[in-house]
C-alpha cells in the first residue's frame, strides 16, 4: 500500500514536471516604482502590465507559451533601478525587460541591460539620452524635446503668450531637458523667456524663486517636473500673488495626486500628454474598459503607455519566433505599425517611436482633452 502510493506520487511528480516543462512560461522583467516619490506612476505601470499579462495568457499566450511578469520595485531611485536590472538578468534570467518608469531610473538600468545584451524597452522614459545608450535600449513613448516643442507652440499660438518664465529642477535630467527644448522653440517662435529659475530635488519652499518670477510677470510659467513638486509650486505661486501667468507643463503632471496637492491653484493649467482617457480609438476604448473593470480607476497615461510597451514586446516576440534576447532585440528594432492604445507605433532607426502628443487642461479638478499636436 505504501509502495503503491509512493509510486503514484512519483508518477504525479513526473507528470506535473513534464507539463510545466512543456509549457515553460516566457519570463518578462518589469522595473517600476511601486513605492517612493513617483509611486502613482509605477503602480499604474504595474497594473497595466499585469492586465496585459492576464489578457495575453487568456488569448493563449505568446508562441503557445504562457507569460509571467516579474515585477521589481525601484522606489524611483536610480541605484535601485540598476540593482533591479541586475537581479532580473542574473537571477531571474529574463530574456527581455520592460522599464524603468522615470528617465533617471532608466538611465541607470539600461546600461546594465546593454552590457548583458538583454533588450530593455522603457514604456515611459522621455529623456533623449535613454536610447542613445545602445542598440539594446528601446522606448515606446515620445521624447522630451517633443513635449517642450509642443507646449511652446501651444503657448504661442493658442495661449497667445509672448513672455514665459521657467522654473525647473537642475538635479533632474528630465526637467533640464524639457526646460531647454521649450526655451529653444519658444524663442524660435518669437516669444521671450524672461526668467529662468531653478531648484534641486526634494525642496518644498519655492518662495524665493517665485518672488523673482512675479517681478517679471510672465504670460506663462513653464513647470517641467513631476506632480508632487508642481503642486507645491503652483500653490505657492498663487500665494505669492502670481495671478496672470498660466501654468503649463508636461506628462509628469498626470497623476490623481496633482489636484489634491495643488488645490485650486492648478485650475486652468495645461500640460502635454501621451494620451487622453477621452480617446475614441477602439483599442483605447477597450483598454480603458478592461482597466477600469479590473482596478476601479480610470487608467492614466502611464498605464496606457505601459500597456503599449507590453504590446510592442509581445509583437516583437511573436515576430522573433523564439524567446531569445538577440532575436527579440532584432525584432524590436524592426517594430512597424503596432496598433496600440496611444496610437500606431513605429520605431525609427534610433529606436524611438514616431507619434503625436495631446494637450490636456485641468478643469474642475479633472484633466480635459484640448487638442492633439503633431511634432
Amino acid at each position: 500500500m505504501l509502495r503503491r502510493s509512493i509510486i503514484l506520487a512519483l508518477a504525479l511528480l513526473v507528470l506535473v514536471g513534464a507539463a510545466s516543462y512543456g509549457a515553460e512560461e516566457i519570463k518578462i522583467g518589469l522595473i517600476t516604482s511601486t513605492t517612493g516619490d513617483t509611486a502613482t506612476f509605477g503602480i499604474s505601470v504595474r497594473n497595466a502590465a499585469l492586465l496585459w499579462e492576464k489578457q495575453v495568457n487568456a488569448r493563449g499566450g505568446i508562441l503557445g507559451r504562457q507569460v509571467k511578469i516579474y515585477v521589481e520595485d525601484d522606489k524611483g531611485m536610480p541605484s535601485d533601478a540598476a540593482n533591479a536590472a541586475l537581479k532580473l538578468i542574473n537571477q531571474t534570467k529574463v530574456p527581455v525587460i520592460i522599464g524603468a518608469v522615470t528617465s533617471n531610473c532608466t538611465l541607470a538600468a539600461a546600461p546594465i541591460a546593454q552590457a548583458n545584451k538583454v533588450p530593455i524597452l522603457t514604456p515611459t522614459s522621455t529623456n533623449v539620452t535613454v536610447t542613445q545608450i545602445g542598440k539594446y535600449v528601446f522606448r515606446s513613448c515620445f521624447l522630451d524635446p517633443l513635449q517642450g516643442q509642443v507646449m511652446a507652440r501651444f503657448a504661442v499660438s493658442t495661449l497667445k503668450a509672448s513672455t514665459a518664465a521657467m522654473l525647473y529642477d537642475v538635479s533632474s535630467d528630465y526637467s533640464m531637458g524639457l526646460a531647454e527644448s521649450f526655451k529653444k522653440q519658444f524663442e524660435a517662435l518669437g516669444g521671450k523667456v524672461v526668467a529662468s529659475e531653478t531648484y534641486s530635488r526634494g525642496e518644498s519652499d519655492f518662495s524665493a524663486q517665485l518672488t523673482k518670477i512675479k517681478r517679471v510677470d510672465p504670460d506663462v510659467l513653464w513647470l517641467p517636473d513631476y506632480y508632487n513638486t508642481v503642486g507645491l509650486i503652483t500653490r505657492q505661486a498663487r500665494q505669492l500673488g502670481i495671478k496672470k501667468a498660466t501654468f503649463i507643463g508636461v506628462d509628469g503632471w498626470d497623476s490623481s495626486d496633482l489636484v489634491p496637492l495643488a488645490g485650486d491653484s492648478i485650475e486652468g493649467g495645461y500640460f502635454s500628454n501621451h494620451y487622453s482617457a477621452e480617446s475614441t480609438r477602439p483599442m483605447a476604448v477597450a483598454f480603458i474598459k478592461a482597466y477600469t473593470d479590473a482596478y476601479k480607476a480610470t487608467p492614466d497615461a502611464l498605464a496606457a503607455l505601459a500597456y503599449d510597451g507590453c504590446l510592442v514586446v509581445e509583437d516583437a516576440i511573436r515576430r522573433a519566433g523564439k524567446v531569445d534576447s538577440e532575436a527579440i532585440t532584432s525584432a524590436l528594432a524592426t517594430t512597424k505599425n503596432v496598433e496600440a492604445v496611444s496610437g500606431v507605433l513605429t520605431l525609427d532607426a534610433d529606436r524611438n517611436p514616431i507619434k503625436d502628443a495631446v494637450v490636456l487642461q485641468v478643469k474642475g479638478g479633472k484633466f480635459v482633452y484640448v487638442t492633439s499636436v503633431s511634432p
Binding site: K75, G202, N228, G231, Q239, L240
Partner: protein, 298 residues
C-alpha cells in the same frame, strides 16, 4: 535699488525667509531645550517633527477634526511620543558615556523614520486644504493668510515657551537642572520629571512645526524630518545650543539665509548655505551667537 533689486523685492524675500525660519525655530527649540538639560543632541527630534505632521494629517483626514483642534492633538501625541522615547531609550543611558546616548539617538531616528515609511507609505501625502488662500499686496510686498497663520502660531508658541521657561516655577526648576543637575537634585528638584517635561515640550513644538509645514507647503513625507531636523539643529547651534532665544534667532537666520542665497546667488547653494553659516559662526563665536563662553569645570 540695490545690486539691481528693488526694495520691495528684498522685503518680499525677507517675508519668505521669516516664514521658513519660523518653522526652523520651532524645531530648533526642542533641540536646544533637550541639549541644555541632558547635554544630548536628540537626533530623533526631526523624526518626531515628521510624526507630528502625520498625527495632524490623520487627525484631519481620518477623524475629521478641525485644524484648530488637530494641532493641539498632534502636539499632545508627539509629547507622549517624546516622553516614551526618553523613558525607553535615553533614561537607561543617563549614566553612560555621552557617545552611547548619541548613537542611541541616531538609532531611534532611523527606527522612527523607517517605521514611518512602513506605516505611512513613502509617497508624499497632500495635506488637506484648510483655508482658502487670500493674498494681500502691501506696496509690492505680498502676504497670504496662510503665511500669517504660520508666523502667528509659531510666534505664539515661542512666546508661550519663553514665558514657561522664564516665568514659571517649573521653568525655574528646568533652568536649575540645566545649570547643574546634581545641585538641583540636592535642592529637592525631581530631575527625571523635569527631563520628561522637557522632552514633552520639545516634541510638542516639533509637532506644531510639522503640522505648520503640512499646512503651508501641503506635502508631507516620512523622510521630511531629516533635512528639517538637520537645518534646525544647525539653527540651534548657530544661536547657541542650550539657549532658548538663541534657537529662535538661529532659526530665523537660517530661513532668511536660505531664501536670500536662492534669490540672489543660486538655488543649488540652498542646502550649503546652512552649513556655511554654521562654520562661520563656529569659527568666530564657538559658543553660538547668544552663547557665552563657559570654562570647562575641572
Amino acid at each position: 535699488m540695490l545690486l539691481g533689486f528693488d526694495m520691495s523685492q528684498i522685503l518680499q524675500q525677507l517675508v519668505n525667509g521669516l516664514a521658513l525660519g519660523s518653522v526652523y525655530a520651532l524645531i530648533a527649540l526642542g533641540y536646544t531645550m533637550v541639549y541644555g538639560i541632558v547635554r544630548l543632541i536628540n537626533f530623533a527630534h526631526g523624526d518626531v517633527f515628521m510624526l507630528g505632521a502625520y498625527y495632524g494629517f490623520f487627525a484631519i483626514t481620518r477623524l475629521h477634526i478641525p485644524f484648530i483642534l488637530a494641532m493641539p492633538i498632534a502636539m499632545g501625541l508627539a509629547a507622549l511620543t517624546g516622553v516614551i522615547i526618553e523613558r525607553l531609550a535615553y533614561r537607561p543611558l543617563r549614566q553612560a558615556p555621552r557617545i552611547a546616548a548619541l548613537i542611541t539617538a541616531i538609532g531611534v531616528s532611523l527606527l522612527i523614520q523607517n517605521l514611518g515609511l512602513k506605516l505611512f507609505e513613502s509617497r508624499p501625502r497632500p495635506y488637506p486644504q484648510i483655508m482658502r488662500t487670500i493674498v494681500w499686496d502691501v506696496g509690492g510686498v505680498v502676504f497670504s493668510n496662510t503665511q500669517i497663520v504660520m508666523l502667528g502660531v509659531a510666534l505664539l508658541l515661542m512666546v508661550l515657551i519663553s514665558l514657561f521657561v522664564y516665568k514659571t516655577k517649573t521653568g525655574k526648576a528646568l533652568r536649575a537642572v540645566a545649570f547643574d543637575r546634581d545641585a538641583a537634585r540636592l535642592m529637592g528638584i525631581d530631575s527625571d520629571r523635569i527631563i520628561l517635561i522637557t522632552f514633552a515640550l520639545g516634541s510638542a513644538l516639533a509637532a506644531a512645526g510639522g503640522v505648520l509645514v503640512g499646512f503651508y507647503y501641503n506635502r508631507i513625507t516620512p523622510t521630511m524630518g531629516t533635512m528639517y531636523g538637520l537645518k534646525a539643529f544647525v539653527a540651534a547651534v548657530v544661536g547657541g545650543i542650550g539657549i532658548v532665544p538663541g534657537a529662535m534667532l538661529g532659526g530665523v537666520i537660517m530661513g532668511i539665509a536660505e531664501v536670500f542665497v536662492v534669490a540672489f546667488v543660486s538655488s543649488t547653494l540652498k542646502d550649503a548655505i546652512a552649513f556655511a553659516v554654521l562654520i562661520v559662526v563656529l569659527l568666530v563665536k564657538p559658543a553660538g551667537l547668544l552663547g557665552r563662553a563657559v570654562r570647562e569645570k575641572v
